[in-house]
Symmetry: C2
Subunit: 590 residues, 2 copies
Amino acid sequence: MSEYHAPVKEMLFALRDLGNLAAVNRLPVFADATPDLVEAVLEEAAQLATEVIAPTNVIGDTQGSRVENDEVVVPGEFKAAYDQFVESGWCGIAQSEDYGGQGLPYLVGLATQEMWKSANMAWSLCPLLTTGAAHAIESHGDQALREKYLPNMISGKWTGTMNLTEPQAGSDLAAVRSQAVPEGDHYRVTGQKIFITWGDHNMTENVIHLVLARLPDAPEGSRGLSLFLVPKYLVNDDGLAAERNGVKPVSVEHKLGIHGSPTCVMAFDDAIGYIVGKPHHGLAHMFTMMNHARLGVGLEGVSISERAYQQAREYAIERIQGQMPGVKGRVSIIHHPDVRRMLMTMKCQIEAMRAVVYMTGAALDLAHGAEDEAERQKYQARVDLLTPVVKGWATETGQNLTSLALQVHGGMGYVEETGVAQHFRDARITTIYEGTTGIQAGDFVGRKLLRDGGQSLQVFLADVQETCVELERHGDSLATIRSALLDGCTALVASAETLMAQFQKDPAMPGAISFNLLMLMGVLTGGWQMARSAIVASDLIAEGRDKEFHEAKVITARFYAEHIMPGIGAYKKAIESGGELVMALKEDQF
Amino acid sequence: MSEYHAPVKEMLFALRDLGNLAAVNRLPVFADATPDLVEAVLEEAAQLATEVIAPTNVIGDTQGSRVENDEVVVPGEFKAAYDQFVESGWCGIAQSEDYGGQGLPYLVGLATQEMWKSANMAWSLCPLLTTGAAHAIESHGDQALREKYLPNMISGKWTGTMNLTEPQAGSDLAAVRSQAVPEGDHYRVTGQKIFITWGDHNMTENVIHLVLARLPDAPEGSRGLSLFLVPKYLVNDDGLAAERNGVKPVSVEHKLGIHGSPTCVMAFDDAIGYIVGKPHHGLAHMFTMMNHARLGVGLEGVSISERAYQQAREYAIERIQGQMPGVKGRVSIIHHPDVRRMLMTMKCQIEAMRAVVYMTGAALDLAHGAEDEAERQKYQARVDLLTPVVKGWATETGQNLTSLALQVHGGMGYVEETGVAQHFRDARITTIYEGTTGIQAGDFVGRKLLRDGGQSLQVFLADVQETCVELERHGDSLATIRSALLDGCTALVASAETLMAQFQKDPAMPGAISFNLLMLMGVLTGGWQMARSAIVASDLIAEGRDKEFHEAKVITARFYAEHIMPGIGAYKKAIESGGELVMALKEDQF
């Protein structure tokens, strides 16, 4: 069974040394979130993650959950960990102080989330969904709804869900059929929802569902959906959860992984619900949370890879097998170059992904909190540009890395009791939920590049170019990093130009190249942050600070440049191939 | 639940149209294995695979196996399918006629194996291991052993196993500790073996174990291992399995996948055994079978990908989701370019892998059966060169492709009942057993390139160059295939030169670059065969034969050239990075 040790030092490097925290601290509202405070917060969270939450991971995987008397029953250890999590106030750490949150930056919340996700990804989905639902209610609900529901959701006393998917409506939410009929000051909601994460459970006294449904007069398609709040237990005027509402879990899915997270089929049968926001604007209301949720899932790519990497590293250091020229007797397998290649491949991409997710998190804080409207817009554009990249690239990468971690274990990796296979299985959902990689790629190419004619990409590229200039200052020692980054920028520019030049002639082309363009952008963004990491680390070495740690940073960044960045060339060539071959076969030629 | 339809037309293309069968037919011993006969054999096998074996796949996955009264109990459906398989004579189809086999080419046996493996990979391991064990006994056992054991193993009445691994001896077999003490005409074998595939079961009346153990006077290390035949039931002079021997299964592993294949911990306790071949030559004797076993596992990459692809294709055609410019109403997801990209990525690599495995299989037949010693040596060198490539590249690719097949299903792919997750889980063992990808890569670089100074690689490259010349004849229509193949050859030559030039200066370098060089070679070899496929298909189109099918072949080959071959550039650059960065970190810097 694998232990987890929160990599606080690595996290602080990405938060503090890469400048993300400083950017957020410039906002007056977050001026108090000093590096020292944040370090203390992380240390405290690390203790909870390591000692309390991480040990529940295997329990959730092996016991799973079941439906009993119209309620989902989860392992008792889950509830114990959850209670402690709520009691220590972690649920609302980055949420509004108006309703009892602690008001820390989203960036800091992300860093704590990284630890919950590493500790037990399945379990961590429960607070993730609660935060998302609370955010939607705060953004779009009326004052009465907010006062009635938010304090208990932000504290974690109640949890929240998102009820979007139906059997015929997965990626295509326009096909949602659930109905909501007005009745006095509320609505009656009826329909079946599937794939509802933490749709029900016995950890808290109430569960607050957000449900997409159609009003009787709703137009067809995605502009006819409204958002409803449907509590598991109706809440009386004293704020107490009283009578059971007409919603129940029908079954939980038997899944490849995240067994600890109950994925429910939910039945709504004349359930009392309250509209959130404007009629027919439900999808738009949900989309305002999308950046948070997708960044959260992208972060899962970091977290699950980190946990798997830790286990592989430990195994590689302990497992004795084979010999090595120049060394007497048998050696631990970390001496074998191909094992090191696997560990370096994991390490460098985990660090790249973490830096990119944190940078995007800081941008989200600035998009919300910057004083100047133009600055808010600038950061919002950056968040919009990077969100599908983070979600798609970091989860695809996470799958490769958990697979590599399993591979380091040889035959033992294939035995479930070793524990690394769980990470491999758990990771496999991340490229699917909150929008598949294909959906992210389509969003990136369609909404984030074509819609603004590549403007926000230009601004992004200018920032990367600045790093290229800085790299010059370090001469030969970072030369391969610089040339890889320059090549990457050239490839991105060329690929974006191909897209802009051809999309009108060939309507299938943007979709056909979207995956490759998304991955190219992800690898490049990671390379940019690793380049910055190398610059910062080199400067810290020059100042004589923690030489071993920062030398490892430089080496790891070089490894990324020389082993991972070359993948950009392959993506670029596939993009040049365009849409024709992708679409050439008839259905029966497959 | 997924059905399986054996792709006989695709298999015949790779066997017949790509010239592999003709190469084997030139051997007098295989002159009778005409295309018509082979087609009939494949059709018959396809029926058994599709109707009898494939339906047991989910049963094995969900029921698994257990130890009861010192015996492994497998699902009853497995025994029923096995009995039918043995009765129809499939077990010994490519084995020696001297002991009751049908004496068909190994190549044809491979094609039938592809179907068993697609139908039920876990189940198919039982005959695979039996064939391997029989082959070892035939090659190295004395006449008495052969007569006593081979007929029942070749018919499949008894099955065989390979007992190599011990807890401290995985990739490093030199560390094996099991002991064998002489006693009269036999030996007493004692020790514990782990990860023994089909180590025991209740499908047949006897199981014949081949066991690596040390004689009392054995030198240390790998040159001190001998090979023993240890039957589960001792065989009396009438050839009947009588008294139980001192070997039993202790437990079966709880694995990520191939649940239907019992992976046993085996205890040998003073078990009666018979030496196979020469004392202290056990490892060498096992290695003579390695090419067969490793090709067989490489083929699993094809088989499991094919099955997963079939399921993804069916889902993509049936699942209605989303809209498409220019099409009214909702469409099946195969209309979406990114879904097509995934299907094409699967299709083109499955065809490439199949062609490479069959070509290597034909070379193995020629290496054994060619009349001329020089020709035998030439083909043996080709088999030796390509075996680690097939094993490593096809299994790594198979993992990517089963993952893509799952991705095509979206959320449904993550639900176990859909069935595609099983293929993803099953595939995950293939890069581990019969030598991990790292072991294959080390074998390729060390034994297959450095040992002969790159000679057999030169011969290989000359053959690829011939195809490049042929491509010129087809002008523009195959131009991107030609340029990708030429680029690939240049990259391989440059990478091999880097290796030859630097390995003496930097002892870690060969191991550090080995994975990338192996994958480069695999992608290129696949590209070569796809180029040949495009040439053959173009010529058949010109002759007016099955235009739709052969046009799909050309398009698929072009897709491979434009989407898969660019990966070669990335491998090449990683190889150029050498060994330094891979080895740079200290253990505690990870």
